[in-house]
């Protein structure tokens, strides 16, 4: 087993998938000879050639739209959108076409496209290289939405996404692209879509999070244990759609106190869905209101990124409110 960061794990998954199946192709802006803006596709062009690692014109609707056509013919395209902030010119193709082909054709045409895209703040990227638009995809029936937090999960979930018969939006936490490291097998393996993961066990309070925020929450959990003797359970959602309601609700019932953390703005963020789902299923077990610790309801800032993003201190404060007898 090798130690990998998330970039290397994604690259390893792509190599495994392309070696196993000639129908798997990669397309996007600068994914070929250049190896991708974050190097996630480095080496693929040399290994698989320009017919399978395709440098496209600068057009997100073209990347998604042509990937749809390839999928209709039986291929498994993995499209890269350089930043999730750039995905909106392709949003119409994703929402109106990619998500709906199976439904409107009575199941006769499927579009097994994976759209990989780095998302999130923390890299001093400003308004257009930092956003977290996951709830805009989770709201669209017909799409699966996957967000890994670790190298091991990134590879296993990406291989499952590529094997899936339906479209998957695969959002990669760019802030921890290289910071998160761990043991990752070089051989193929899969993690089923739709399974949350308890990354830290605890009995006092549950924190539900995903992506880069899982690391911030773990930092907060450590502080809460050291300074306040709180045993925090951290649930990594991993799969927003389909959502593992059982794992999340079981933890909420166990601790009776829940905080939801994400870096997207609060209003209509995925935290609203998580909060509503938990209270529907676990209301009589709850000892405190479910609090959301999120990004602010502003455009992503140029200079006040540290104020905008939830940090360990904000999360610890919420943990203390949730456990205040």
């Amino acid at each position: 087993m090798a130690t990998m960061n998330i970039i290397q794990a994604v690259n390893s998954a792509l190599v495994n998938a392309m070696e196993a199946d000639a129908n798997v192709v990669v397309l996007g802006e600068d994914v070929g000879k250049f190896g991708g803006v974050f190097r996630a596709t480095a080496g693929l062009h040399e290994k698989f050639g320009s017919d399978r690692v395709i440098d496209t014109p600068l057009s997100e609707s073209g990347i998604i739209g042509t990937a749809i056509g390839m999928a209709l013919y039986g291929m498994n395209p993995v499209a890269e959108i350089q930043f999730a902030d750039f995905i909106f010119p392709g949003y119409d193709q994703i929402v109106s076409e990619l998500a709906k082909y199976r439904y409107r054709s009575g199941g006769h045409f499927t579009t097994p496209v994976v759209v990989r895209t780095p998302y999130g703040g923390g890299i001093k990227g400003g308004l257009y290289h930092s956003q977290s638009p996951e709830s805009l995809f989770a709201h669209i029936a017909g799409l699966k939405v996957i967000i890994p937090s670790s190298p091991y999960d990134a590879k296993g979930l990406l291989l499952s996404a590529i094997a899936d018969d339906d479209p998957v939006i695969f959002m990669e936490p760019k802030r921890v692209y290289r910071a998160a490291r761990g043991e990752v097998p070089e051989t193929p393996y899969t993690i089923p879509l739709g399974e949350a993961h308890i990354v830290h066990g605890g009995d006092d309070v549950t924190v539900v999070a995903y992506g880069a925020m899982v690391h911030t929450v773990l930092e907060a959990a450590s502080i809460a244990k050291d300074e306040h003797d709180l045993n925090v359970e951290v649930v990594d959602v991993r799969s927003l759609v389909p959502l593992d309601v059982d794992t999340i609700v079981d933890s909420a019932k166990k601790t009776g106190r829940v905080i939801v953390v994400h870096e997207a703005p609060k209003t209509c963020g995925f935290g609203a869905e998580l909060t509503a789902t938990i209270q529907e299923a676990a209301f009589w077990h709850l000892e405190a209101p479910i609090e959301r610790v999120t990004g602010l309801d502003t455009p992503f800032p140029h200079t006040l990124e540290d104020e905008y993003l939830p940090d360990a201190s904000r999360i610890v404060q919420a943990l203390l409110r949730a456990t205040d007898e």
Binding site: S61, G69, E97, H108
Partner: protein, 250 residues
Amino acid sequence: MIATPSSADLHELVGLVQATDMRLQQLAHDGIIGPHHACAGEEPTLVGAAAALDENDWVFWGSQVCVPALTRGMDVGLLFSEAFTPGATQSELAERKIVTKTHGAAARLPHATGLAWAARQDGVAVLCELGDGAISDADFHVGVNFAAVMNAPVVFVVRNGVDAPAVTPRAIGYGIRSTRVDGMEATEVKDVVSNALDEARTGTGPVLIEAVTQRGRQTYKGANIAFGEQIESAITAAERARHATRAARG
């Protein structure tokens, strides 16, 4: 099995399409079926283009899906089944490699390009039809530009009503071939589209065809009489099937 009509059948097909289309329009107008986008006199272009396809070619089509369906040998009764019970014929359309119901005027162009690229080594070409309204949409540019860059074997046929801006000059900017044809002559359209599909299959890239039409003109006045009996019995059967479906649902 996809039937490829001979030139001799073309005029009969145009008549059948027009009779079907006019009857669907009337049923929609009377509120018996959902909305119907009529061929509006452009049947010769639509039928000529669809008749140019080889058996293995794929089709990306707009609202008048009755055209490639009938041209590729689907029974007229099934078309009325679809009108009365939407979704009833999806398997028949898929078998005939007909992709339809994209949401916008030009959204299907990039799909046609992507499929053509994927199929480029299988001797397959793709036909994508659109109206002149679609050429203002961003996805027109996206689809044609990607087709040019990727050298995809796709033929775009634009129905252009008289007085609309010319389409063929746009091909210059993409560096692809283009042809203008009289869209009211089905045999001419078929020949031009057929040549373009043949060329595309040899790997020389996409072709943009402008079919100049006279929208609104009814070409085959006798169509309803010639195909009346066949169509009326299809409607009766489709209506009966819809009643049965609704009754079964309670």
